[in-house]
Symmetry: C2
Subunit: 258 residues, 2 copies
């Protein structure tokens, strides 16, 4: 089994090492990840400047390939130019900080896995809930077990699994929940500051406004110390509104021929 | 009526001027857009460096505010710090090049409109099919008419309309289609080149593989010279797979308590 591992925290992240060490038990691991941190880059891809591929060594050993681009770039160039053949699965993470509710939209980690789904490769995005995690072990172990389940049950083409794991030792985990993307969103605040030359600048901060209260939502499940597994896809069509809008009679907007 | 206009091609783009001039007929227009081109940045937001807001003048007149960030940044900081109050509608565009099928995922233009939807503001992303458009007029005019329809019919909170307009004079447009996101995807190619020092670098190119053949898909509709209007949202949950996965018995992955 060929396993491609990437992330958005950069190839030197402890999260990627923890994942690579665990996933080795299941097959051949190849690490292709951004050279530097790429948090919150969403599904950005690099088109206006060229990419470079650099062999990356850790403690003197070959560890993988560093790409000076985004997480989605890593999956694209990794599969097209480094691997040549698609892997059996792509795993993105372990991300520092949860990717639940609205954060899925901004996440580079999820976007790497989503790019794999676009390329018809099954994939998992995995995050731990803390920005300074103490417990990568269970997240890595869980991802390995989930990978076995994907192999067994087959995941629909175009779908990826977004996994969030509480930053806790295994015995304190409440269990595992199959979830939907929550509705919690950020109340953004831009802090106004002045630079040493008196010019204003703005720094994004804010608070996540909790709007989820059932274990069927990713955000609430992890807060209750459950591992959350959410199937997501890249069909953004709002089918409910599509049906509603049939009554809008859009065709009448084109006066010429109506 | 207060109308916030943004884009991903940058505040100096002809597309944004065409849109601003047309939308003035309907209300007060405020332009808040990236200082430089931000194509394919997806839903990236700027968190690790601060943002700056600069007043932008065009032909000596005040035109709007340039932000040294992404399209999603412009909507966030524009509404929070410049406007203070949400506008009645956000319009992102007119983008150079269509944002249909898989391109919706990568698009900065669509992400600006999607950020508005996240902030509960109705929004439209509008693109013309050419990268060197000859005909912005109909796209601008259509957006104005569609805005009136949104005001009349109300758009569900969290939904935005993704509009693609053929680069044609009005009389050559076939009509208007209500569509779904198509399934056409890129066959990516990374061109390998060498820099003047003999080091390899890679440049993303590729071909869009056509997988859409009905007028109910955005990609095929614009190819048949129709204006395409697709309702999209930011709930990425794959509900079909969610139902299927109930039989996976994920809870058994947590051995401790089962």
């Amino acid at each position: 089994m060929k396993i491609l591992i990437s992330n958005d925290d950069g190839i030197d992240s402890r999260g990627i090492s923890a994942l690579a060490n665990e996933m080795k038990k299941l097959g051949e691991v190849i690490v292709i990840a951004p050279r530097t941190e790429q948090s919150a880059v969403g599904h950005a891809i690099t088109m206006k400047i060229p990419l470079r591929i650099t062999e990356y060594y850790k403690n003197g050993d070959f560890f993988g390939y560093a790409i000076d681009g985004t997480p989605a770039d890593c999956i694209k160039i990794g599969i097209r130019n480094i691997m040549k053949e698609p892997p059996d699965i792509v795993i993105s993470g372990i991300n520092l900080g949860s990717n639940t509710a609205i954060n899925i939209i901004y996440s580079g980690t999820v976007s790497a896995a989503r790019e794999a789904a676009i390329m018809d490769v099954p994939s998992i995005a995995v995050s731990v809930t803390s920005h300074d995690p103490k417990h990568y072990e269970y997240a890595a172990k869980f991802t390995l077990e989930l990978t076995k389940l994907i192999v067994k049950n087959k995941l629909k083409t175009g779908t990826l699994l977004n996994v969030n794991v509480p930053d806790l030792p295994e015995e304190e985990i409440s269990g595992v929940m199959l979830t939907q993307q929550g509705k919690s969103k950020w109340d953004d605040i831009y802090e106004e500051r002045k630079d040493p030359y008196g010019k204003k600048y703005y720094w994004l901060t804010g608070n996540l406004v909790q709007a989820d209260s059932t274990l069927e939502t990713d955000q609430h499940a992890v807060q209750q110390n459950y591992v959350s597994v959410t199937p997501i896809h890249f069909d953004l069509t709002d089918y409910e509104t599509y049906d509603t809008m049939k009554s809008w009679q859009l065709e009448k907007l084109y006066k010429q021929k109506s």
